[in-house]
């Protein structure tokens, strides 16, 4: 996108640098002059908010690692030591713990924004696929992070989730033992989870770079889903979107701070204030809220299908629920991106959102009675949405007429 750049080295030093490593030129092109559709709404600010969340988690996490002890005898007390004795420790620890929830809240909004406005469609398939990988890595990272305080939910969550892998035929048990570093969740598990929990965020950061690179090739999608036609449709990223994103980030920090300072424990589970004990199983083992929809899908398969037993079936369903996102660009063939112009799609989309919230709710309920039946319906709809509804809709739906361009759309709005 160098053609958009107005960069001229201001002096000899900049010229000298520019001839060798054009990093100033690069920053100007991509962080300042980058042409961005002028009609982006606030749903588009979550990209920047997520970058901020990742930064917060990495910075607070690095500081926590300076005081944390990854040993089963000391982990629990070392986290309490951080909260009680380390200078600023209780704020840093609370920001990190609450930050995980805020990170997921933002990523779910970001994903659902992409689903509604068709951001996964050509030419943004790779951008979308990288995003799915980031999401999966985030879940792995968050899960391992939750194990580190070595409370009861940490321990039993780790036991239940690692146990999932044992369902895989033949290689399942070796994978399980490799993950745990033994036959049961114990000190080796804690050590490797700590190591990986420190590593994965940097892998995520690298993927974020690719994600932004893939974004900067076709440029942003936008609420009407019509590609940028001319420079009249865009504004430079700076100062327009730097300012808008910065405003949105500050607003996002308000509920964030509310939780950190006034309800730091409300997003967690009381049982995690009990040190891990392999002899006592909690009444209900519940993962963190952001993993619940997929936990419901895992548990919903309680029947055997041919030679696949229910345990493996659950694992396939849960894995499939994530992996199906990878092929979404080829399932939804409608040429219209934005849900605003797809009258039928909108109904199914909002039902999908509702369905996803119900899946979250069910994950926290015991698997009994009516919950089991509802869970099955919800899981069925989750998959039907992708496999049947979207492909069929793209054939039968008559979209509303699209505006000719972004400029026409915003002018029409202004005069309406």
């Amino acid at each position: 996108m160098s053609e958009h750049s107005t960069y001229k080295p201001a002096n000899g030093v900049e010229k000298w640098i520019d001839d060798r490593l054009p990093i100033i030129r690069f920053s100007k092109e991509h962080l300042m002059d980058f042409p961005t559709p002028k009609n982006l709404n606030y749903w588009w600010t979550f990209g920047a908010i997520l970058a901020m969340c990742l930064g917060i988690q990495i910075v607070t996490g690095i500081i926590l690692a300076m005081h944390y002890t990854p040993n089963v005898a000391m982990a629990f007390d070392s986290v309490e030591h951080i909260r009680r004795n380390v200078n600023g420790g209780r704020v840093i620890q609370a920001v990190h713990a609450v930050g995980a929830s805020m990170f997921f809240a933002a990523v779910y909004i970001h994903i659902f924004r992409g689903l509604y406005f068709g951001s996964y469609k050509a030419p943004r398939e790779i951008l979308w696929i990288i995003g799915v990988f980031i999401f999966i890595l985030m879940m792995a990272t968050a899960f391992m992070g939750y194990v580190l305080p070595w409370g009861q939910m940490s321990f039993w969550g780790a036991t239940v989730i690692t146990n999932i892998f044992s369902a895989i035929p033949i290689v399942g048990d070796p994978i399980l033992q490799l993950l745990r570093g033994g036959f049961a969740v114990d000190n080796p598990t804690l050590n490797r989870f700590f190591s990986l929990h420190y590593l994965l965020p940097f892998v995520i950061a690298a993927l974020v770079v690719l994600h932004i690179w893939a974004l900067h090739v076709p440029g942003n999608n936008n609420p009407i889903g019509v590609e940028v036609k001319s420079s009249r449709d865009t504004v430079p990223f700076h100062p327009y979107y730097t300012m808008k994103d910065a405003f949105a980030m500050v607003v996002f920090l308000i509920p964030f701070a509310w939780f950190v300072f006034f309800a730091p424990d409300i997003l967690g589970h009381p049982d995690n204030y009990i040190q891990a004990n392999s002899q006592v199983t909690p009444t209900h083992i519940v993962p963190e809220w952001y993993l619940l929809p997929f936990y419901t899908i895992l548990r919903a398969i309680d029947f055997n299908v041919l030679f696949i037993d229910s345990k493996l079936g659950g694992v396939i369903a849960m894995g499939g629920a994530l992996l199906i996102l990878l092929v979404l660009p080829w399932l939804d063939r409608s040429p219209v991106r934005s849900g605003n112009f797809r009258p039928m799609f909108r109904w199914f989309y909002w039902l999908f959102v509702l369905n996803f919230i119900v899946l979250t709710y069910l994950g926290a309920q015991p698997a009994e009675g009516i919950y089991v039946l509802v869970a099955k319906f919800c899981v069925a709809y989750y998959f039907l949405y992708f496999i049947v509804i979207l492909p069929v809709l793209s054939r039968i739906e008559v979209p509303k007429p699209l505006p000719a361009s972004i400029s026409e759309s915003v002018l029409g709005k202004a005069h309406a």
């Binding site: 308000i254 509310w258 309800a263 009381p270 909690p282």
Partner: protein, 286 residues
Amino acid sequence: MIKKKTIIAVLALAGALFAGPAFAQEEEAGGHGAVHIDKQSWTFAGIFGTYDEHQLQRGFQVFREVCANCHGARLMAFRNLSEPGGPGFSEEQVKALAAEYQIADDTVDGGMRPGIPADRWPSPFASDQEARDANGGAIPPDFSVLAKARGVTDAFPFWAFNYFTGYQEGGVDYIRALLVGYHDEPPEGFELPAGRFYNDYFPGHAISMAPPLFDGAVDYVEAEGEAAVPETVDQYARDVSAFMMWMAEPHLVSRKETGFRVLLFLVVFAGLMWATKTRIWKGIEH
């Protein structure tokens, strides 16, 4: 200009954001929720809540004279007792208090020495097994963070409001209820195992801990010019629960104070950012 639709969407989103995590919460009492537990009014509840110094001192007295015979508090240091936002003992008082206790220390002659303010509260038993042997097979749980390790369950949809009120007193509500929830005789038809006691609020009702409190068990010193605090089980239970909350969350007051400054800053800053953003975008149709 922010349009009406956007505002509605943001409100709906905020609702969903708070509701999402809320779902995870509902089943979280870990089995304590089977019985309804009355919420109490605590001085440290809500965004303006702070600890009542006198109540913490009374609670400490109950803890020290009754609970500490069996329960440890390994994360609490003596010095915490004189820190701001706590029971408000003076440093001299804490020094004198610590010296009353013998602390196990491998580096001194005889292996024991008098405590200093930096020491942690000594455990009543040398090992888990010793604790178990002395208590009919049950380990008395450590008190350090116990008030945060218990909770109560609210029925749908009331738990959702907790995210906005910041209700986090489920643990103390449960502990207070437990302490006043003993019955001399189990209800008819209930098989109480030997060595257990019937409690309304304990999961399964058969608890290993004998009723620890009785009226008059602890002598409260009367403060001059103030009404005498009743020496009843209910009052003891309240006071020691409050003290346990402080033990689990000794910096609650400073945390909230910081929170007000942070939120005030963020709201003002957001306003300025909004004004700047609007100014920059002025004249751009979007």
